[in-house]
């Protein structure tokens, strides 16, 4: 009897120690094979998904509040409070499986820079997407209107994304970017895809229409993309992308060949500079990788991304552009002969070599805390930015976080005009979908 009790207690402890005790007699005690009736709905599931609710309205909302305290060259500044209200609303009309109309608008309301007393209010309403989808015999697919598109495969930098209006912000690389007004023609064939974009932004005559063909194909576990951009009066471009994975690491790369540049360039003229246009070939290339590591116990869940970017339109020598930046920052005349061309200079993105890296530790040691760091550097002028964010446990739709950001680099560098700056902040955001 005592032995039976001991064995029972031991069994209870053993079961309590397992992650999930299974009653196999219960689970595998009855019939293994069950009868199922095949679904014979009025509409095939692939068609039912295309019509869905026929008319749907939805969206998302967010409210962000951030308290910031800057430290410039070691001196603390005033603490400021900024806020932003935002919402996205969409309308999706699908009268039949072969046609739909989609519209999405964003409303953004920036609260005062300093809430007490209010200084500035700003409301922005923006059409983000408005397009119609139709097709020819379910073989060729058309999307006409303003639409979000994605050409490149890069994460922090994407020079191959040559048709979008919005550019990637390396500090917020997953943010939605503004797309062009275009007619997209898409012909999928096997695992390959062929696209032709006709782009209408700023087009006043038919001859000014921009054309951008692209194809994607796979070889083994690697996907390649080849594309081009042509518009009268603009410099033609060719692009290539590659994305693949080796083991647990995902790799991506892009290359762009531009026949001339839309930018103006500084040329030394004695002690000053002249802004000139340059012909010839310009190469931009980027490569990077992503890796995620999860340990056996769920205590180490790390995600890392690293990317290098070579910008052939950047300056090998940064001195000229530094002087121009410094003069503009100090509200002085820049050392340039032809001021009327000053606007064509690229004050940002003027470096030749860039590097970006991020490391995120999800659920630190199994907790509800997540930490992330970002390093962004212009290697050409030794400017850089380091930021670290700690996301605190969310409570429903309420997400708090704290962080610190520091820039380094000499005055006149890409983002270092004001010298070394450190900013600490605390933020809360409330958001959701409807």
């Amino acid at each position: 009897m005592r032995r039976a009790v001991f064995l029972s207690i031991l069994l209870v402890f053993l079961l309590a120690g397992t992650s999930w005790a299974v009653d196999y007699d219960d689970l595998f005690g009855g019939d293994l094979l069950v009868e199922v009736e095949e679904d014979a709905g009025a509409l095939a599931p692939e068609e039912a998904l295309l019509v869905q609710d026929r008319l749907a309205v939805g969206g998302s909302y967010s409210f962000n509040l951030q308290a910031t305290r800057p430290f410039l060259d070691g001196k603390a500044g005033d603490t400021s409070l900024s806020g932003n209200l935002g919402t996205q609303v969409y309308l999706d009309a699908r009268p039949d499986p072969n046609f739909r109309l989609f519209a999405k608008a964003g409303i953004s309301y920036a609260l005062s820079e300093k809430l007490t007393p209010p200084r500035e209010e700003h409301l922005e309403v923006k059409l983000q997407e408005l397009f119609a989808d139709f097709n020819y015999d379910n073989k060729v697919f058309f999307r006409a209107g303003k639409q979000n598109v994605k050409w490149g495969v890069g994460y922090f930098f994407s020079p191959a994304d040559i048709i979008n209006i919005g550019r990637i912000d390396p500090l917020d690389p997953e943010a939605e970017r503004e797309g062009p007004a275009a007619l997209k023609i898409h012909y999928p064939k096997g695992s390959s895809n062929y696209y032709l974009y006709a782009l209408f932004d700023d087009v006043k005559e038919l001859q000014d229409l921009a054309l951008a063909p692209k194809m994607e194909f796979v070889a083994g576990k690697t996907e390649f993309g080849l594309g081009a951009f042509y518009q009268r009066g603009k410099h033609p471009r060719l692009m290539a992308t590659v994305s693949s994975s080796f083991g647990e690491v995902g790799f991506f790369g892009e290359a762009v060949l531009s026949f001339g540049s839309d930018r103006g360039f500084l040329e030394p003229k004695g002690p000053v500079y002249e802004v000139v246009q340059k012909d010839g070939l310009f190469v931009q290339a980027t490569a990077g990788g992503m890796y995620r590591y999860q340990d056996r116990d769920g205590r180490l869940d790390l995600a890392a991304t690293l990317q290098y970017y070579f910008n052939g339109e950047g300056y090998p020598d940064q001195e000229g552009i530094k002087k121009v930046r410094l003069a503009l920052a100090n509200q002085e005349w820049p050392p340039v002969l032809n001021y009327d061309k000053l606007g064509s200079l690229a004050l940002m993105g003027s470096g030749r070599h860039y590097l970006a890296a991020s490391l995120t530790w999800n659920r630190i040691f199994g907790s509800k805390l997540t930490a992330s760091t970002l390093v962004l550097a212009n290697l050409s002028d030794q400017w850089g930015l380091v930021s670290a964010t700690l996301r605190l446990p969310s409570h429903g739709k309420f997400s708090p976080s704290v962080g610190i950001r520091s820039t380094f680099g000499a005055p006149g560098t890409e983002y270092g005009a004001a010298g070394r700056a450190v900013t600490v902040y605390a933020a809360v955001s409330v958001g959701g979908s409807f």
Binding site: V22, F28, E46
Partner: protein
Amino acid sequence: MKREALVITAVLLLLAVVPAVQAEDLSKMRAILEKIDAQSRFDGVDFSALLTMIVEDPEEGIEKLVVRQFRRDDGERYLLLIQEPVTQRGQGYLLEGDNLWFYDPSSRQFAHTSLKETFQDSDVRNADFGSSSYASSYEIEGYGEDVLGSFETYIMDLKAVDDTVPFPYARIWVTKDTNLVLKAEEYSLTRRLMRSALFPKYAKVGEAIIPVQMIFVDELVEGKKTQVTLSEISTAKIPDHVFTKAYLERVNR
């Protein structure tokens, strides 16, 4: 002397016969793996179903995912479209042979991903949505017999022969009479138990026999598991255009 000769002869005979018997049993086990793979495939027909996933996480609570699956085993294709929850609605996966893309509707971007990755932080791997490949991806290290519930089963210890499967080692329990996998334990390179999968309900759909209820248990996080149930099953022909990036873009908001 005569007796010694008899013993030596018997030992030699035994040494000759045992490997032959083992080889015969191994080939029988390999044949079972081939049958498992064959009956999990939809050859010549397409397959679609609605998958309801209940993800239980001791930290995050209980989450429900509803996923529409379209599958064509000729060409190793599938398309998965998340319908619930609303925050992930429209996210999709497109498999074509060795290539798997994840589609994010908010950025309208396709990104290459891996069959080994977990599906939406559940305990299901992207590879679990296709047909099984036990015979081609594993070799048998050992085997035995066991009883699971009211079923007599073979147990097989498997070692991956390539890196196409999420786990390098597995142990499976297969019914002796119907060649159905009731349970699978999956192990890391260091032979640590990572995940257990249970398949308590099967259904004959067309010529295939597939699990319609699956339970995946995370053996690293206590209390974390995912239950998958199939409904709205159909083997009707699926148009070719469904297995394209264009379809994922059209169906999305």
